[in-house]
């Protein structure tokens, strides 16, 4: 190829690169990093024709030494272990640094040694902290067996366990602990009391002879003996606790802890997702699935088991084949005619309406089930133990049923909508996420519609105190039931569906068994499951302060159940879920769940009247009422400041400033993108310029090399005199091996 005549093949057919290229500054700057490879190649001798490096002789080595001296000062800024040099050189470098350090002043020596000591300390403490991490060995095992995709699910689970544990610690430390230690620390508790029509609360505790199965019903539904315990909001009748020196306002603490745990979750999730988010913003969807990424970063170096390696190979193969198909599909999409496009959009519209209809139907079913369940609970006549339990759990059952059916339906429908494969996956997931999380909101909405509607006209107490003397406890019970049922479903599906499926597969070779072939560990569905559980936890903690502890235990057991099920039963999905994007996806869905969870909590704190018969907020109209009351009691200056911070003027100006900052950052990002494109174009041009120049140079060299044998017989003094510098400079710069003929002209000039 004419363009690439820079890289000539010598007579043996091996590629030999031009010596000129080796002396380019850009190559030299990389040389110090790659010296080990040239060392290796030097010793390999004849098997490679690296004319340049082995033959550039004195000049090459001198430049190299000079450059290393210059770069040493640059590399000292980087730590020794980050240099790409073999160990022996690193140690020499270290000795050199130590010797140089002797020449420094004592202050700088002390600074260096402290820095080193601190770095060592930091490394050791990081290692110690890592060893404390929960389930380190198990996750390492899973990583080796199944790769990083599934690993991300399990590390997400571990994150949720830790998050729930900290929420529980918050609640326990600020709400429960003061109540527990009050009698021991001589604290005087003032109970919140209110003598009015609304504060009649007959507790539902059973008296007399009780059947054993009542206890089980109570345990599963949170009523009866569990109702008046630390578990539910109604127990916390405490208003203030007076210790010897301070007064602890428990009502305020309760409210602030609720807001606090929502903030803590938000900050923790955002911090965790920051890295993955940056990646996703920079690239668009195309680069995500780029071929380069699959070839160079596709193999998971952590895999240690043979099965996992085979699976990974299959997965990579599948991904590459899918990508090749995607290319074909993209072409097909680009070639769509107008008529086809219209038809497609029409079909998509119909199907989307159908999906919305299905969702609406599901929500309506949940609403009906909830209303029916509430009515059945209020009904004094108990039919049967099992039937009672079913009535109690009816909303949970309907939600779970809907959540099983809708993903299957959605993945069936999306086949007709003819999107690109990547978009298909995301859109289906989005629909499933929406379904799962909105069903909780619908449930709460239906409960609230019962709570705030009274039989004759508007409610006296602001809520239906006949049916729900303590409505927060009731909502807490519903959340408790949802959590318990979710856990039961996960455990039962694993035990009663997955294990028998595997046994069926192993012991029978019928067609049915093959059709139900070994199931795959579908990461998105599993993640949605645990995000659903976490959303319930976030909503329910205000009404059921011990719910985070229950969720911690629940996720703790789910980890082991899923791990055993994975190892024994499943094989990972052939449609891979990439580790990189999965982290972002998990945390994104979790963030959606958090946002959705904030809505009911904020609505109930600020809007709905709190119950007057139980809980710490009896003396106030709404739960939020405790904050203004406390603020008005603060000293004048602080009060003015807080009132100013919560005024509309401050909020509006904050909003305007945030908008301005956002516009600025967006403009900056746009400008950077333009600059990057320009630079890329420039880089390409520079590369072409360089090759063009080198090509010209090579041609000139060849021409002068062809001329020189003739000059041996006909000393052309004119030519040699006219351009001695030309010849001599090349003689010093290039290896004799390439320009053997040059000896002749210089000899001839001397003559």
């Amino acid at each position: 190829m004419e363009v690439d005549s820079v890289f000539v093949t010598d007579h043996s057919g091996r590629i030999s690169s031009n010596p000129l290229l080796d002396q380019l500054p850009s190559y030299q700057s990389l040389l110090y990093r790659r010296k080990s490879s040239t060392v290796g190649s030097k010793q390999r001798g004849s098997s490679r024709a690296r004319v340049g490096s082995s033959g550039s002789g004195k000049w090459g080595i001198n430049t190299f030494v000079r450059l290393t001296v210059k770069q040493k000062s640059q590399t000292e800024k980087r730590h020794i272990r980050e240099l790409a040099k073999p160990m022996a050189e690193k140690r020499k470098h270290k000795k050199q640094c130590a010797e140089d350090a002797q020449k420094l002043s004592s202050w700088q020596q002390w600074r260096q040694s402290t820095r080193k000591y601190l770095r060592r300390m930091r490394d050791e403490s990081e290692e110690w902290l890592n060893s404390l991490k929960l389930w380190r060995g198990d996750i390492h095992l899973i990583e080796g067996m199944f790769g990083t995709g599934i690993l991300s699910y399990f590390s997400f689970l571990r994150f949720l366990v830790t998050l729930n544990f900290f929420i529980f610690l918050l609640m326990f430390g600020f709400v429960m602990l003061p109540i527990i230690i009050a009698p021991h620390a001589s604290g005087n508790i003032t109970f919140s009391q209110n003598e009015s029509y609304c504060s009649v609360y007959k507790s539902d505790s059973r008296r007399g002879l009780v059947n054993y199965h009542k206890y089980i019903t109570d345990l599963l539904s949170g009523e009866g003996f569990l109702e008046q315990t630390y578990l539910f909001y109604g127990f916390y009748n405490v208003d203030k606790i007076h210790f010897s020196h301070i007064t602890y306002n428990l009502a305020l603490a309760y409210l602030l802890v609720t807001i606090g745990y929502l903030f803590l979750s938000l900050i923790w999730i955002v911090k965790r997702s920051a890295a993955g988010f940056k990646h996703n913003l920079i690239q668009d969807e195309d680069c995500f699935q780029s071929f380069c990424n699959k070839i160079f970063a596709g193999w998971d170096f952590c895999i240690t088991s043979e099965n996992a390696a085979k699976l990974k190979k299959k997965t990579l193969l599948y991904e590459l084949k899918t990508d090749l198909e995607d290319e074909k599909i993209k072409q097909k999409i680009a070639e769509r005619t107008h008529k086809e496009k219209c038809r497609l959009y029409f079909i998509r519209l119909i199907l989307n309406l159908f999906v919305i209809g299905v969702l609406a139907a599901c929500f309506y079913c949940i609403y009906l089930a909830t209303i029916f369940s509430q009515k059945a609970q209020m009904n004094e006549q108990k039919v049967n133990f099992i039937v009672d339990l079913i009535y109690e759990y009816l909303p949970s059952i309907v939600i779970t049923f809907a959540n099983f059916i809708t993903p299957v339906l959605f993945s069936f429908i999306i086949n007709f909508e003819d999107y690109s494969p990547a978009f298909e996956i995301r859109f289906t997931l989005l629909r499933c996420v929406f379904m799962r999380l909105t069903s909780i909101v619908v449930l709460l909405f239906s409960v609230w519609s019962r709570i705030t509607k009274c039989k004759d006209g508007p409610c006296i107490c602001g809520y239906n105190h006949d049916l729900y003397p303590c409505w927060e406890t009731h909502v807490g019970q519903e959340m408790y039931k949802l959590t318990i049922f979710d856990f039961i479903v996960i455990v039962s599906v694993t035990i009663f569906v997955e294990f028998p499926r595997k046994l069926l597969l192993r012991y029978s070779s019928s067609a049915l068994a093959k059709w139900m072939s070994q199931q795959e560990f579908s990461i998105p569905q599993n993640v949605l499951e645990i995000v659903y559980g976490q959303t319930i936890c976030w909503i329910g903690t205000f009404y059921c302060p011990l719910l985070p502890a229950i969720c911690t235990l629940k996720y703790f057991f789910i980890f082991y159940i899923k791990k055993v099920s994975l190892i024994k039963n499943c094989r990972p999905a052939t449609r891979p879920f990439r580790a990189s994007s999965s982290n972002f996806f998990f945390l994104g869905v979790l963030l959606i769940g958090l946002t959705l969870a904030c809505v009911p909590v904020i609505a109930s704190i600020a809007q709905i009247n709190c119950s007057q018969a139980c809980g710490p907020f009896v003396n106030y109209n709404t739960s939020w009422g405790v904050v203004p009351a406390t603020v008005y009691q603060l000293p004048e200056g602080v009060k003015k400041l807080l009132l100013a911070l919560s005024s509309e003027a401050f909020a509006v100006s904050c909003f305007v400033l945030t908008c301005l900052a956002m516009f600025y950052v967006i403009a900056l990002a746009g400008a950077h993108k333009r600059v990057i494109n320009e630079l890329r174009h420039q880089l390409e041009m520079e590369g072409r310029d360089r090759r063009f120049l080198i090509q010209k140079l090579c041609q000139a060299q060849k021409r002068s090399g062809v001329r020189s044998p003739q000059s041996k017989f006909q000393p052309r003094r004119s030519s040699s005199r006219s351009s001695p510098s030309y010849h001599t400079s090349f003689a010093t710069n290039f290896s004799d091996a390439v320009f053997l003929a040059h000896a002749a002209p210089s000899a001839s000039t001397q003559v």
């Binding site: 980050e82 290319e327 590369g687």
Partner: protein
């Protein structure tokens, strides 16, 4: 740590700690693993820096490397003689560069060396084809292989010379989301 160990002098351990991403405990553990590969060859006492090299055939039997399609290339890259025989220095260098704490730049340099099969400091089409074949073990048809390699070069080549120089490779890797999470070996 206060443990009496006779494998290395204190000075050697300090040097290793400074030059790698490992702590004392891990360095001693690595030495035990190294010795495990060839107990008759590798002495227990390394205080006088013996010049022992474990051959490649033994190193690629390690569980961490056994299933890796690039195991020979990795070992060759880190060996001083280019043949894949690793001294302990090379051994610990290899695992340090590929460990989780190692920075992206260092991993990029070594990844380039690993994927550069013919060691001409460019990843040309033949190198790419060899990489792809190692990954898929010949399951793709030759046309598909050519197509994939063409597309890969098209994506990553910035200066238009139909092969990947280190600058091209580095730029491409910086945008590859899976690189950091996949390109590390846990030992």
């Amino acid at each position: 740590m206060g443990n009496k160990q006779t494998t290395f002098t204190e000075e050697q351990l300090e040097a290793y700690q400074d030059c790698t991403f490992f702590t004392r405990k891990e360095i001693l553990r690595l030495h035990a693993r190294y010795r495990e590969l060839a107990p008759h060859l590798v002495p227990l006492d390394y205080t006088n820096n013996p010049d022992i090299k474990v051959p490649m055939t033994l190193i690629i039997t390690m569980p961490e490397l056994k299933e890796n399609p690039f195991r020979e290339r990795i070992v060759e890259t880190f060996s001083e003689d280019g043949q894949g025989n690793l001294s302990f220095n090379d051994f610990i260098d290899m695992f340090s560069a590929l460990c989780e704490a190692s920075p992206r730049e260092l991993k990029t340099i070594y990844a380039f060396k690993i994927y550069d099969f013919n060691r001409d400091n460019f990843i040309c089409k033949e190198d790419l084809e060899k990489t792809l074949n190692k990954l898929t073990k010949g399951e793709l048809t030759p046309e598909e292989v050519t197509l994939v390699c063409d597309k890969a070069i098209e994506e990553a080549d910035l200066d238009g010379d139909n092969k990947l120089s280190f600058a091209d490779f580095e730029n491409m890797i910086s945008k590859a989301p899976d690189f950091l999470s996949n390109f590390h070996i846990r030992i």
